[in-house]
Amino acid sequence: MKYIDEFREGGMARKIAARIAAEVDARRRYHFMEFCGGHTHAISRYGLVDMLPDNVQMIHGPGCPVCVLPVGRVENAIQLAQTPELILCTYGDMLRIPTANGMSLLRAKAQGADVRMVYSSEDAIKIAQQNPQQQVVFFAIGFETTTPPTAIAIKKAQALGLHNFSVFCNHVLTPSAISHILQSPEVREFGVVSLDGFIGPAHVSVVIGSQPYQYFAEEFQKPVVIAGFEPLDVLQAILMLIRQINAGRAKVENEFTRAVLPQGNIKAQLLVAEVFELRRSFEWRGLGLVPYSALKIKSCYAEYDAEQRFPVPALSIADNKACECGAILRGIKQPQDCKIFGTVCTPENPIGSCMVSSEGACAAYYSYGRFRNRDLCTVQNN
């Protein structure tokens, strides 16, 4: 496949890995957080960690929208879906997130709720047009990448005069999450998590540009390299981070030049600004309440806000006690550190959200067998 295969070329990967090995300073350690689940997925799928020297460690960040959504909001969505004469539309991965009592949107569907998987917000609009007698709620999640399409759906519903369409908005913001991690006690005070630099988001940066990361580079003196989601992108970004650190620099650099501009996609930004405004605070799974880290629908579009149209109580539901998703999302623990990883919690029967999305660290580790040393699934003959 043109423009894809070039960035998955093994020979070039080994060349970059050799450069990394040649340039690392053996006297120090390098700890890099890849913020995005897309990078985590690429690292697991292509076994990139095996290509890195021992003193370069990757920490998997919270940039998986499915993983960071708190259980309370999933419970809200299930309650909405169980409302009579209501169709709930959402992206595929959301259907499998388990709540505290083992429910999920898929289970709700099996029990009779009208839950539809869609590939885009546009599909939800179509479903609303086809079912004028029913309320259609689009359960919107995601970072800056999926926010503009939700804005378009709301504007389209208005233009079409659709009165049975609304959005349950759960869009969150990347820069606030990165700030929160950098200011967390684990990073600043206790040193539980060492962080020397970030691999910056790929698709998010296409929308917001590279400028928003300047603050981290300057304020926290952490280099940021924006990288695409292909394996060569990730390796090249690691090399660029190592070079910055070796030279004592902390700059924002862009490896993903084929898609990311410094200013981002202005048209998309204006659209988002027109429809959404900041929430004072929003709960993230693993991170807790993060100030100004999420969006809500502006009052002038209140008609399309499911939180205005239906009762959506604020629910704070604790994670399963054995689940380490919170610590994994903060970079304190790795998936294998969780006692239920791969035993009780599997992609088939996920307990925590990190096992649900293919971008979740646990699912990525599990699916590509990077845990196999633990001898978890021995097959026995009777």
Partner: protein, 352 residues
């Protein structure tokens, strides 16, 4: 009689028969369906044939060895490029019979029809079945028809059952894979799944890909003639190549190593999978088979496949290895290997 292979208890949780209900994943061809079959059907019907976990049962008739198989078809949409539910229902059961190395003899067909379903569509489907059965030389000799109230079904559901005869000395079964064996596939992967997916109302992308639905018994006859000692044959339908190989790995208590660079696939299928976030190894096929044979026979078998129109793109895609984990792994183009796990959940429902 080989012992059934069970997955360690901690790895999959037992089904909750008291509180649970049927979910779409129980029909996906993946791990949840395997669990349902094992913990419900095999447990209840338990016998030596069912325990083999093949897509068909081989048994001794009065004079010869017989094979029997059944399959239901619930695909949506009913008509798709390259076929329809009727041709699929004929080809699918013929293929399940053929995957034992048998010659299919007769088919039975039963129909569940929804009140209000257009008779013109029903006629079109039945004509297509007749044509497919005629072309395959396997007559439909008995059947059944039921009608349910509007809303109790989705247009038409078809179940076909087939029987066939199997020559002495042929022993093709999922438990026969041995370390060192080669894994072959009969052609390009993923066409059926992508062709059907492209028609779904919420996936508006355009493609010229057609379903590969086809009856494979003639190809199998040529293969068995060339290499009577083929170890395993199976058609990678629901759940695709990944699921079928995981099933066989479990049945034979072996591992598998695939070579990504050897997988035959259209650029279009690859591209569609890329933008839909799907893995082509899990996409359904309806006119392809996986064959496993001894390493010494592999070239011979490949040549026999290449000589048949339905096997012209056949390729050796991997080998059977020793592995107590029974993992299916793949050497990637990138270099290095990764596990190709069972399908969890479902990629796309009602694909066959």
């Amino acid at each position: 009689m080989a012992n059934p292979v069970r997955v360690k208890a901690g790895y999959t949780r037992a089904i909750d028969f008291k509180h649970g209900c049927v979910e779409m994943k129980h029909g996906s061809g993946g791990r949840a369906m395997a669990q349902l079959i094992q913990q419900l059907f095999v447990a209840a019907f338990d016998n030596e044939f069912l325990r083999q976990s093949n897509d068909q049962a081989c048994f001794q008739g009065s004079n010869e060895r017989m094979v029997m198989s059944t399959d239901s078809y619930v695909i949506t949409p009913l008509f798709f490029p390259g076929g329809d539910i009727g041709s699929l229902a004929v080809h699918g059961t013929i293929n399940d019979i053929a995957m034992s190395g048998a010659t299919p003899s007769y088919l039975a067909a039963s129909f569940i029809l929804e009140e209000g379903f257009a008779l013109s569509d029903l006629k079109r489907i039945v004509d297509s079945m007749a044509q497919s059965a005629m072309a395959a030389g396997v007559p439909i000799v008995t059947g059944d028809t039921k009608v349910v109230e509007r809303g109790s079904a989705d247009g038409v559901f078809i179940t076909t059952t087939g029987i066939g005869k199997i020559a002495e000395g042929i022993n093709i079964s999922g438990e026969n894979a041995r370390p060192g064996d080669k894994i072959l596939v009969s052609g390009l992967l993923g066409d059926h799944g992508i062709a059907v997916m492209a028609l779904r109302e919420n996936l508006s992308f355009q493609t010229s890909i057609q379903s590969d639905t086809a009856a494979l018994h003639d190809l199998v006859a040529n293969m068995v003639a060339a290499v009577p000692t083929i170890h395993v044959l199976r058609d990678p339908t629901r759940g695709g190549v990944a699921t079928v190989l995981n099933e066989i790995a479990q049945q034979s208590a072996v591992g598998m190593m695939l070579y990504e660079s050897k997988l035959p696939m259209r650029a279009q299928v690859n591209a569609a999978c890329e933008f839909l976030g799907l893995d082509p190894l899990y996409i359904a096929n309806e006119g392809k088979l996986i064959a496993i044979c001894g390493a010494d026979d592999a070239e011979n078998l490949l040549n026999a496949m290449h000589k048949h129109a339905l096997g012209k793109d056949a390729a050796i895609i991997g080998e059977v290895i020793e592995d107590t984990h029974c993992f299916v792994q793949m050497q990637t183009r990138f270099g290095g290997s990764r596990v190709v796990d069972w399908l969890s959940g479902e990629q796309l429902p009602r694909i066959c």
